[in-house]
């Protein structure tokens, strides 16, 4: 089976090449077939690999398959090779990437069918799958970094897909620049890893690291830098403002990249490097605090947003914050579990939003929607399931994963649990608000939009149904022992944490766990009822932008003015420095010097040209002077 690992990235790459070259020549059906078929093929291979790993894990072995492709470069003692590693962690990630990816490709066939860039879209999507699989398959940090940068590139290409709109292009640029800042952290972390451990291979690094003591300063620096990389890729404070702006891209892009896969690359990287992170409690604390802050702030902003995709975007940032909180308090399995369940219900929510936008003729403002559940029954049913899942209401998927994180947070410090709980309240409220404003009440749009309302074709509804089913049953892969389960996911992922001697175990009493679970479930249901009361019973609709609102509402609606703050602190000084460099150093200095050399020669030419004036008398004078000079020279010789 190990011989087939390399096909998993390769087949989507071929899809990219074919669709990219033939994007204007092939008919739509052909492009769709190639685009979806390649990802389906990778999915089948991923299932085969997963089965092999599962069989090995069930037999109790450390299941990992490696495939060495070729030696990339070797300098001195350092040898970096392109090689792949499939173990429980990466096999699960592969299933998500190719599985949810395939569903989204199928969805895009219908969603993007009216777009003239249809072929280009599928080419970019396939390229993204290629890079993302490279990221999770790498057996060393260098190969992961290739994938890391590549998905940043694809994110840029896909966010700015409708590049003729300059604000969309700016959003793409913003995403790429913030990603790059994170990439710098990753790169410097790689240099430190090289310097301390002499190799970039996971096995080498982790086996050497397990001999170090907790609180080692080198490991602290490495993990801090890796965390900076994760904040860029996974949209945490301070590098999160690109994700809401990334909603400028088509909705399948938001579902695939900014919900299910790329933004989870940061969490994957931390879970992969759990040995290093567990050796650095300071970094873990910082991760937990930043994750918590991000979760709370994003949830606060999402409370008042009126664009359906912006609510989901801030929801994604908030849920990513939860995942980092989980990582920071030691719930590595819980955070990864949340990655899996979040992929299901967030992709579901985004695709459902896309279905709504499609039906509304590209309208995204929820104030124009309302009462859509009769016109879009399948979309409504699936989005209802997604909303219940994300709010953490049992027995749907979100409950199990969120609760595991909150239990570890409670064990770490009650305040963390408290803020996490508050964020969960906000989450339930704004998600149900989204549901009620879109699907309940009376339709608030124009007559033309009303006539255009229709349920989406099967290519869009079947992925919604599949994801809804997964959101319902996805939680059962890691039922905690408190509820009589066997922690199947934790058992499966054990080899990933094999070298880690500093893992955190959950030591709460069963009664505490029951109380925590009960409180969060009841609270979520209560917030759903509160939102129902406000938006359905009282028929409250968010007001137009021109209406002046109170202080807290403004703070939330204007995204806490963070974009304006960055503009003031970073963008304006940079632009000022750039203008200074252009006007003085480039134009006056460098151009002045280069042009000056030219002008010197022109000027001296003008002067010397006068020697050939055509005045014979002048020539004779010069001749006489020359003779005199020669005579004097001869005289001086004696």
């Amino acid at each position: 089976m190990s011989e087939l690992i390399w096909l998993i990235p390769l087949i989507p790459f071929l899809g990219f090449v074919i669709n990219g070259l033939a994007r204007k020549a092939f008919p739509k059906s052909m492009i769709g077939l190639v685009g979806c078929g390649t990802v389906l093929a990778s999915f089948v291979l991923s299932i085969l690999l997963y089965c092999e790993i599962k069989v090995a894990r069930d037999a109790g072995e450390t299941a990992s398959i490696t495939q060495h492709i070729f030696d990339w470069f070797s300098v001195g003692n350092l040898k970096v090779s392109l090689s792949f590693l499939v173990d429980p962690l990466s096999s699960l990630m592969l299933l998500i990437i190719t599985g949810v990816g395939f569903l989204i490709h199928l969805y895009s066939y219908s969603y993007m069918s009216g777009d003239e860039g249809f072929g280009k879209f599928f080419a970019y999507l396939n390229l993204f799958i290629f890079f993302m699989t490279i990221l999770v398959l790498g057996s060393n940090y260098a190969v992961m970094f290739i994938g890391w940068e590549g998905v940043g590139l694809c994110s840029y290409l896909l966010i700015g897909f409708w590049f003729k709109n300059s604000s969309y292009a700016s959003a793409a640029k913003k995403a790429f620049v913030m990603n790059r800042i994170g990439d710098l952290g990753f790169l410097i972390a790689m240099f430190f890893i090289l310097a301390s451990f002499g190799s970039l291979e996971y096995l080498d690094v982790f086996s050497q690291a397990s001999t170090l003591s907790v609180g080692d300063s080198t490991v602290l620096v490495i993990t801090l830098l890796l965390f900076v990389a994760a904040t860029g890729k996974s949209a945490q404070i301070p590098l999160f403002t690109w994700l809401p702006d990334a909603m400028a891209g088509p909705t399948p892009v938001s579902a695939l990249i900014h919900a299910a896969t790329m933004v989870t690359a940061g969490i994957y990287m931390v879970v992969r490097s759990n040995v290093l992170f567990a050796l650095s409690p300071v970094t873990m604390e910082i991760m937990a605090v930043i994750g918590l802050a991000t979760a709370l702030i994003a949830a606060f902003i999402a409370l008042t947003q009126n664009d359906i995709k912006k609510v989901l975007a801030y929801s994604t940032v908030s849920q990513l914050g939860y995942m980092f909180l989980g990582l920071g308090v030691g719930a590595f399995t819980g955070a990864f579990f949340h990655v899996l369940t979040h992929a299901f219900f967030k992709a579901l929510l985004f695709l459902g939003a896309g279905s709504v936008i499609h039906a509304m003729g590209n309208e995204q403002d929820m104030r124009q929607m309302g009462g859509l559940r009769k016109a879009l029954p399948v979309t409504f049913a699936t989005m209802l399931i997604g909303t219940v899942a994300i709010s953490g209401i049992p027995p749907l998927a979100g409950f199990f994963s969120k609760d595991e994180i909150l239990a570890y947070a409670f064990q770490h410090h009650m305040l963390y649990w408290g803020i996490g709980f508050l964020t969960a309240l906000f989450t339930a409220f704004y998600m149900f608000r989204l549901l009620y404003l879109t699907f309940f009440g009376a339709f608030r749009g124009t007559e033309a939009q009303k006539h255009h309302l229709h349920e989406s074709p099967w290519q869009m509804t079947v992925p919604l149904i599949v994801l809804a089913v997964l959101s319902i049953v996805g939680g059962f892969i890691n039922i905690p022992s408190v509820l009589g389960g066997h922690h199947a996911l934790a058992h499966f992922l054990e080899p990933v944490f094999a070298g880690n001697e500093n893992t955190v175990a959950l030591t709460l009493s069963h009664s505490t766990e029951y109380i925590l679970m009960g409180v969060s479930s009841v609270a979520a249901i209560v917030m759903a009822i509160v939102a129902y009361n406000k938006y359905v019973s009282k028929k409250s609709v968010p007001q137009a932008d021109s209406v002046v609102q109170g202080g807290l509402y403004n703070l939330s609606y204007h995204k806490l003015y963070i974009d304006e703050l960055y503009d003031l602190l970073i963008v304006k000084p940079l632009k000022g420095a750039s203008a200074f460099f252009y006007k003085y150093i480039d134009r006056l200095g460098i151009d002045g010097f280069v042009n000056g050399v030219g002008e010197f020669f022109v000027g001296s030419g003008k002067g010397i040209r006068l020697l050939q004036s055509g005045y014979v008398g002048f020539y004779i004078i010069m001749m006489v002077i020359g003779v005199i000079v020669m005579l004097l020279y001869g005289l001086l010789q004696y």
Binding site: R609, Q612, S613, G614, Y615, G617, I620, I621, V624
Partner: protein, 109 residues
């Protein structure tokens, strides 16, 4: 014969040298500075004559007649040159109605 030579050699050679150099320099200056073409011709003649004098002086002091023979050549040459030069000046005058050297300026930059 010897008496004439002694008389000539009574004037030191240096005097002849300096005298001829000065006249030569005056001739050169005249060529460079003056604008009237005929004056320039005269200055050229002046230069030639100063050289003639110096040749004759050296010939007398060294007792070598080849200097004086050379003077004959120079004089013949000077005459021929003057003839041609004046012919050119007349043609120039007929075309530009002026004997100013500045009038011949069409090929100048």
């Amino acid at each position: 014969m010897g008496n004439i030579v002694e008389q000539i050699q009574g004037v030191p050679l240096n005097h002849y040298l300096i005298f001829c150099s000065i006249i030569f320099a005056i001739g050169v200056t005249g060529v460079l500075i003056r604008r009237n073409v005929i004056i320039i011709m005269m200055s050229i003649e002046l230069m030639l004559n100063s050289v003639n004098l110096l040749l004759a002086a050296f010939s007398a002091y060294r007792g070598d007649p080849s200097g004086q023979v050379f003077v004959f050549f120079v004089m013949a040459l000077a005459a021929a040159e003057v003839a041609v030069g004046l012919a050119i000046i007349i043609m120039v005058y007929r075309n530009t109605k002026s004997v100013d050297v500045e009038s011949l300026s069409k090929l100048r930059w």
